[in-house]
């Protein structure tokens, strides 16, 4: 414990030099810009910057990349709040309440809350990374195909149940559609191509980024241009720095979202977006005012931004100790570490334990830089709202084209963006939630691969999916969630509790 604190102190001290602080400043600002620009994601920002860090020392290179990663995840919340377009997929959940808050003229407060909760989320993640990383990485090692299958299904089901504003059916349909989209392309167990219809471009499947840019970018442009024009945008003069009470009245939500984000981050391959959506769903479920979610709930925004930022720190646990990327951007970081001669994996703690704490220090510095820039530069971004949509949306569309093209440099991805934009717009208009659709695309491969791998391991016997303790618990939750979304069952359960509640005093 004390050894860990000493190593952490040394790690922070190591980076308190002018050169390191200069790198923190410019890389965080660059990350913020990448995050704020729609279509540019944290993964892309980190990937683009790897080439610029070749000549740096390993610690400075990883520090720079980490600042871009954290900066862009945080910066994306600005776009989510001001334009209803998530700057990165991680901020999709923040659009649900961040943008309504901005529309209510509380953009400053929304940005202040997002900034502070991002910092707190990162801090919760850092705590787990620094203090119990070895223990948690061991626990993650015990997760098998069975647990991953249920986790993937749990994500889609809970999201469908929680976000279906009209009826949970629409949430489930959106989730199933997302999962079906994820089935396109080469499956990883037997390398068989599914639903490609002889098109080579579909072999690699549908990329998440063009799909997201379409479903959240183009669809939003179409929605914005369809809506009746807001003749006068409310003047935004609210304060940016939130009060202590405004933040800490939701301390339960912050801690819960931080822990959920940490848990999601530890699971390899499950990124910030899942952390954000899951935290949001959990906060809505536990809230005293769930009806405010999606209409400008401060609690919802705090949950989303705490959750995704906690994932960033926690994603470093499997990345560093198991060499399994906790998120897509973490995969790029692993590649960068190899380039700089750092070998992540179980041996890292033996060979180079200082590096783990240097990463903790990098995250602390990056999150402090985010907090300072976030609270001081925040008013500048509010001006985006005053730009007429006719003049803003055209530029946003061009950015959508660039954002969907840039990752793999294929026009095919731009066409994917167009298709998802149109379909996403129609689904939005029909009150289908976007969250389960996105979760389905993200988790589809995880669900499919782990179900069939689990069955392969047991020669077709499905019993471990139901008998392993963690699997059994998640399975039960999934089943209960589905059952409770059936109106007849839900009514019966509610009446059961109601009867018990009224019956108790009579017995006394």
């Amino acid at each position: 414990m004390f050894d860990g604190l000493v190593l952490l102190g040394q790690g922070i001290g190591h980076f308190l030099t002018p050169a390191s602080l200069f790198n923190v400043v410019w890389a965080t600002l660059l990350g913020l810009v990448v995050g704020i620009l729609p279509g540019l994601t944290a993964t892309m920002g980190v990937a683009l910057l790897v080439t610029l860090t070749y000549k740096m020392t390993p610690d400075q290179a990883i520090l720079t990349l980490m600042c871009v990663y954290l900066g862009s995840i945080y910066g994306g919340s600005r776009t989510a709040i001001l334009l209803n377009i998530p700057g990165t997929p991680a901020n999709a959940a923040a659009t649900l309440d961040g943008h309504p808050l901005a529309q209510q003229g509380r953009a400053g407060l929304a940005m202040g809350l997002a900034t502070t909760s991002s910092t707190l989320g990162t801090m919760v993640g850092i705590f787990f990374l620094a203090i119990i990383a070895p223990v948690l990485s061991e626990a993650a090692l015990k997760f098998g195909s069975y647990e991953f299958f249920w986790l993937a299904l749990f994500g889609v089901v809970i999201s469908g149940q929680m976000s279906g504003s009209d009826t949970p059916l629409k949430g489930y349909i959106a989730g199933i559609l997302g999962l079906l989209v994820a089935m396109i392309g080469m499956e990883t167990l037997h390398a068989h191509q599914r639903f490609t219809f002889g098109m080579p471009a579909l072999g690699g499947g549908v990329d998440l980024i063009p799909a997201m840019v379409g479903a959240f970018g183009l669809a939003e442009i179409l929605s914005a241009m369809k809506r009746k024009a807001v003749t006068q945008i409310a003047e935004v003069n609210d304060r940016v720095v939130p009060t202590f009470r405004e933040i800490f009245q939701y301390w339960r939500t912050i801690i819960r979202s931080g822990i959920i984000g940490t848990f999601v981050g530890i699971i390899p391959g499950v990124g910030e977006d899942v952390g954000s959506w899951t935290s949001y769903a959990a906060a809505k479920r536990a809230s005293k005012h769930p009806e405010e979610f999606g209409k400008g709930s401060q609690e919802g925004l705090i949950a989303a931004e705490t959750g995704d930022n906690a994932v960033v720190s926690a994603a470093m646990i499997p990345t560093l100790t198991l060499a399994l990327p906790g998120s897509a951007a973490a995969a790029v970081l692993i590649a960068a570490m190899y380039i700089h001669g750092i070998r992540p994996g179980p041996m890292l703690m033996v060979e180079n334990p200082v590096f783990l704490y240097q990463v903790v220090a990098m995250l602390v510095l990056a999150t402090l830089a985010n907090l300072i820039f976030g609270l001081s530069l925040t008013k500048l971004f509010i001006k985006v709202l005053s730009v007429p949509r006719e003049r803003l949306m055209a530029v946003i569309y061009v950015l959508c084209v660039v954002g969907s093209f840039a990752i793999t440099q294929r026009m095919f991805d731009v066409y994917v963006m167009l298709i998802f934009g149109v379909v996403g717009f129609i689904l939005r208009e029909m009150k289908y939630p976007m969250a389960p659709l996105v979760l389905g695309i993200v988790l589809g491969d995880l669900l499919d691969l782990n179900l069939r791998r689990g069955l392969q391991l047991t020669n077709g016997d499905p019993s471990p999916f139901f008998t392993r303790p963690i699997s059994a618990v998640i399975c039960l939750i999934v089943l209960l969630t589905i059952l409770l979304s059936i109106p007849a069952v839900s009514r019966r359960v509610r009446s059961l509790f109601h009867r018990n509640g009224t019956g108790a005093p009579a017995q006394g």
């Binding site: 183009l218 003749t231 061009v398 093209f405 669900l447």
Partner: protein
């Protein structure tokens, strides 16, 4: 109150149409998944066939689509079909159609035929002019002001995106 009832009726009928489409999609996908190669020659275990999850998902889609169709059919929706017809031919729909037409023109025709920066400038200019001078919805703008602003934003936006992405971020543009 009446407006809300109209909206509910329109949505009920739109949901019914969508649900039927989803059922059809589910059935087609179920057929495609069922007939997907089962790789017997590679002696894989029958429970790990590539079509396993798609079969389950397409069945679930058909089921959920069917339930939604049933639910929508049972909802009272007096005048729903005519309201739905008006919704897809109204002014709002024309504006959506115009955005889509411009976007498709830009992406499918202009990109590749013109340099990206020129295509972007042309798109931004046309978009602003179309929505500020033709399909107006909000404060009217004088033609001269609109044309000048459209030209400025097209040059700054299109040129800026080209410069920032291709020159600074070194991103290859379409």
């Amino acid at each position: 109150m009446q407006e809300h009832a109209d909206e509910t009726a329109t949505r009920a009928r739109a949901d019914l149409l969508t649900a039927l489409l989803l059922v059809a999609l589910g059935l087609v996908l179920f057929y495609l998944s069922w007939t997907m190669p089962r790789l017997e020659a590679r002696r894989i275990h029958p429970s790990t066939i590539p079509g396993l999850v798609p079969i389950a998902l397409s069945a679930a889609l058909t089921l959920c689509g069917g339930l939604l169709a049933w639910r929508s059919w049972r909802l009272p929706a007096k005048g729903g079909w005519s309201a739905l017809g008006k919704a897809v031919t109204g002014k709002a729909a024309r504006r959506v159609g115009a955005v889509l037409a411009l976007a498709l023109l830009h992406t499918l025709v202009l990109v590749g035929w013109l340099p990206f920066w020129a295509a972007a400038m042309l798109f931004i200019f046309s978009f602003i002019v179309v929505f500020e001078l033709w399909l107006i919805d909000g404060q009217p703008v004088t033609p001269l002001s609109s044309l000048v602003w459209a030209a400025i934003i097209a040059i700054v936006g299109g040129g800026g995106i080209y410069f920032v992405f291709e020159r600074i971020f070194l991103v290859r543009l379409p």
